[in-house]
Symmetry: C2
Subunit: 88 residues, 2 copies
Amino acid sequence: MNSEVIGIIAGAFSCTTFLPQVIKTWKSKSTKDVSLTMFLIATLGTALWLLYGILINSFSIIATNIVVLVFSITMLVLIFINRDKERG
Amino acid sequence: MNSEVIGIIAGAFSCTTFLPQVIKTWKSKSTKDVSLTMFLIATLGTALWLLYGILINSFSIIATNIVVLVFSITMLVLIFINRDKERG
């Protein structure tokens, strides 16, 4: 099988990795067990990948990381909103 | 700045993304708010990236994804152990 087919499928998985967590947290409004540090690292890492994609002019890296960045920033917002609520 | 420097820093962030969640869950033994689906997708995606790295013979893709795979499989194991316990 063409290795690029594997790469495209792998990229599709990467794009949607955080989506189930966003949906779960959106519904439960509970983030007690979720690591804030994980999503801070993910957001910074994804922003750097996006910058890398822009620098080397790679559409697939840019597109993938915009999607991941949207989900990871959404998780950061959900974590901050819900922790604030939980503290009262 | 050289774009490859940005790429290497971005890769380092990607490698360690799941580590804070592993540490948090290891300590708390609680996974109620953590999405199992997220780590299933992450594990499958990472395994595909590893396969892609092997197919195109890229050491950096292979090395990065072995690290990520170890953390994501660890999270899957922690989720299964703790959900089993929580169910009693």
